[in-house]
Symmetry: C2
Subunit: 153 residues, 2 copies
DNA sequence: ACCAGGAATGTAACGATATAACAGCCCCAA
DNA sequence: TTGGGGCTGTTATATCGTTACATTCCTGGT
């Protein structure tokens, strides 16, 4: 996430939390910023290292911040990677899908209505009521597909 | 999985492995049977307890069997639960979807072509080549939706 | 039958991810 | 001012998964 987008996201986060009466404390804001600055999904313990930064901090510090940010929809958790990414459009609640490149590790967040529709149709046939769809697709991104070969294998 | 289906699955597993030159050893067959007998997704350490059954066994024993069974498509892993279920139709390779009831824990395996189609379309728009789609839907199953209330909350 | 050599298993230790439980702090509201 | 709820600190522990290396088993070539 570039600097400009990051600033926008942080401002949106503050506005959203204010509107909702949720407290985006410095600790939480710090974790949000770290997640968003990471070019790739980032793990909780990796975050912990950065939060410590010489000082002291324990897992609950980071996990509690992550829980808050997840509740507010400011970040997403990638179940297949046990890692987190910042949401680029937290302004509205959404159920999104993730394209995860197994080669370069980059993740693209989609919000595909047709895909969600298919999912709801399929669930409905079984009388099932979806509450939290988890859709994560491991594959190869366009950039990596164009690479002629793995350069440094 | 009922006894009849279990027996069919075990026979299919033997046939498949034989055809592929893969060795469905007693250990692996045992783990497959334990996974299939479980009414719900079962975790690796839970399996380990049952594999031990008084004797001795260590995590790699179970994880290696699980790896083999996953490779052969005889079981599936549920990423959101860190648990495993037996595949009810291992005769052909497939990418399936899972409906996970948050109330009773039951899991339904789907193989919905339309849903997969939507997924591929959505991915294609981003130039992304899917290799392993992970689709797990947390929600409420038909049975649990009909319950008037949580009986013992 | 014999003997590699690879596949499968046993065993001990460790690493990574996540939560429980309880204590102290801060801020606002009654 | 005095709770009380929300946030944070701290320690320990639970849960999930892997590494590394020794041993055993099976198989295929001779
Ligand atoms: Zn998002
Ligand atoms: Zn890539
Ligand atoms: Zn299946
Ligand atoms: Zn249910």
């Amino acid at each position: 996430m570039n600097e400009q987008l990051l600033n926008r996201v942080l401002r949106q986060a503050e506005a959203l939390c204010a509107r909702r009466g949720a407290r985006l404390t410095p600790q939480r804001r710090r974790v949000l910023e770290l997640v968003c600055r990471a070019e790739r999904p980032i793990g909780a313990y990796e975050l912990l290292d950065q939060v410590r930064d010489g000082g002291k901090a324990a897992p609950p510090t980071v996990y509690r911040a992550l829980d808050f940010l997840l509740e507010q929809g400011l970040i997403h958790k990638l179940e297949t990677l046990h890692a987190f990414i910042g949401c680029t459009h937290p302004d509205h609640p959404h159920s999104s899908q993730f394209l995860i490149c197994a080669d370069c590790g980059k993740v693209t967040e989609l919000e595909d209505a047709a895909l969600l529709g298919s999912l709801h149709s399929a669930a409905a046939e079984s009388g099932f009521s979806p509450q939290r769809p988890v859709i994560e697709v491991i594959g190869t991104c366009a950039r990596c597909a164009h690479k002629p070969d793995r350069p440094a294998d």
